[in-house]
């Protein structure tokens, strides 16, 4: 197995929730 996890210290790990939050700024629910 080759891990894709490269960081041991975790960042905030936040991904966009709604597609609207792609940029954490403006909308875009089409995605």
């Amino acid at each position: 197995m080759k891990s894709l996890i490269k960081v041991t210290k975790k960042g905030d790990g936040k991904v966009a929730q709604c597609c609207a939050k792609n940029s954490k700024a403006v909308m875009g629910c089409h995605d």
């Binding site: 936040k14 991904v15 609207a20 940029s23 954490k24 403006v26 629910c29 995605d31």
Partner: protein, 456 residues
């Protein structure tokens, strides 16, 4: 005989002497155009590439290095995994409660464009003028209801940047209200009047201007034209240049369907030639054209989510310069390769009523941009009086992969998050129903693409 998915672990701590199982959250599949496979677990936040032999062993439940699978949470004691699931859920709720809230304000639904795929084209605009007292009431509501939350305002429409003295005055008041409160402002605009609005935008704390560009000139103008039919491309390009020259961040969004996806490489090359892609204040998004609220005239042009990404995967292989313009997410694949870590488990992908609210000029309150202005989706009013439909709001607030019964046994639920509530409701009539994301299929493509590129 061992049951499928269960493995015995001799020599482990007593609790591990119980039967171990493959995690319910393992996502395993073959990588596109590769001999390799991937194994991803959004709960334990692990992601691995398996060679063919390892994958065969995994499929046959014949693991050679069980310790590694246990350590990474691919092989679990179910009760222990349930504890981690509950802990992660509480953590998700806590984090979200302290997350920034995006507050959309729609000053009107009017628009100077006649886009071929508009989802608001059946909206009516009984009034075309927003009263100052509505803006004041909006900010009073923001001050009171979100006093302890980090927040920012986003101007939405219709088209918020319409070029008449009255409309400009309204936008100015909203910008002043935000500036006065130290709130950032984002704007979702078609970009036609950016130059006329530049001075006003320069005076406010603008976080980002989202401008939609659907391709290079001919393609864009055939989809996003003025009401009279005139093209809009040249003026938008001029506006984007002006924003960047004035160091105002731009988020360029291309809405994609079968009619224009082929133009993506050309748009990418155009953006590269303009120097936009080298500017850290320039970023991009790809949006899928889809049906919301009502059927589109020509449904055959619409992509499903996986179809869109399959097409983009092919395009990027042939035109890698596209990646200079935009790196598609392929679910969580881009995140993993860019950050070298897994995102946090996503118990809810819908931000509506949690970290997103939408308000319009009529004084109505909605959950998000997909519902704002849609008759029947109102959650209350902030003007002329504050009145909330608590029961409906609670239903929105409670929607997550635990509340949606269809998500309960889905292995990809913590990467999917249950999808968009508005789409789910349009499709099933039920808010607590899923809008499933094809996570496994997207990862097959995304892991394939990004592992070839070796961007880690």
């Amino acid at each position: 005989m061992e049951e499928p998915g269960k493995l015995r672990q001799p020599g482990f701590h007593h609790s591990y002497l119980e039967e171990m199982e493959y995690s319910k959250h393992n996502i395993f599949s073959k990588i596109a155009d590769s001999e390799g496979y991937f194994l991803v677990n959004p709960l334990s936040r692990q992601a691995d590439i398996l060679d063919r032999d390892e994958a065969q062993d995994y499929m046959n439940h014949n693991l050679l290095s069980r310790e590694e699978y246990i350590q990474k949470g691919y092989l679990v004691e179910p009760a222990e995994e349930e504890k981690l699931f509950r802990k992660s859920y509480l953590n998700f709720i806590d984090e979200r409660d302290s997350d920034e809230v995006q507050l959309f304000f729609t000053p009107w639904y009017s628009c100077n464009f006649n886009c071929s795929y508009c989802f608001q084209d059946e909206y009516t605009n009984p009034h075309d003028h927003v009263e100052e007292e509505v803006i004041n009431a909006f900010f009073r509501y923001v001050d009171e209801k979100f006093s302890h939350r980090r927040k920012y305002i986003t101007l939405f429409g219709g088209e918020p940047l319409l070029n008449s003295p009255n409309k400009k005055e309204t936008i100015k008041k909203v910008l002043e209200g935000a500036t006065h409160r130290n709130l950032d402002v984002a704007v979702v605009t078609n970009g036609y009047h950016l130059v006329e609005y530049l001075d006003l935008l320069k005076s406010a704390p603008i976080r980002e201007i989202q401008v939609t560009v659907d391709g290079t000139q001919t393609v864009h103008d055939s989809r996003r034209m003025l009401r009279g039919g005139k093209g809009s491309f040249d003026r938008i390009v001029e506006g984007v240049d002006a924003l960047l020259e004035n160091r105002i961040p731009v988020n360029m969004r291309m809405i994609v369907d079968k009619d224009n996806v082929h133009n993506l490489p050309e748009l990418a090359r155009f953006a590269i030639s303009k120097g936009w892609t080298r500017d850290p204040l320039f970023k991009t998004a790809l949006g899928r054209n889809y049906e919301l609220h009502h059927c589109q005239t020509n449904q055959t042009k619409l992509f499903s989510r996986i179809e869109m990404y399959q097409e983009i995967y092919k395009i990027v292989q042939e035109h890698p310069e596209v990646l200079e313009f935009h790196k598609p997410s392929f679910s969580i694949a881009k995140f993993i390769f860019e950050n070298g870590e897994m995102p946090e488990p996503l118990f809810d992908s819908c931000s509506g009523t949690k970290t997103e609210w939408a308000f319009d000029y009529s004084g109505r309150i909605y959950s998000c941009t997909a519902t704002v202005g849609n008759v029947g989706d109102e959650l209350g009013t902030f003007y002329p009086q504050v009145k909330l439909n608590e029961e409906l709001i609670e239903e929105w607030e409670e929607r997550d992969v635990i509340a949606i019964s269809e998500c309960n046994n889905c292995p990809v639920r913590l990467a999917c998050g249950g999808g968009c509530a508005a789409i789910a409701k349009t499709r099933t009539g039920k808010l607590h129903s899923p809008d499933c994301r094809p996570v496994k299929d997207l990862l097959e493509l995304g892991v394939g693409l990004y592992s070839q590129l070796k961007i880690v």
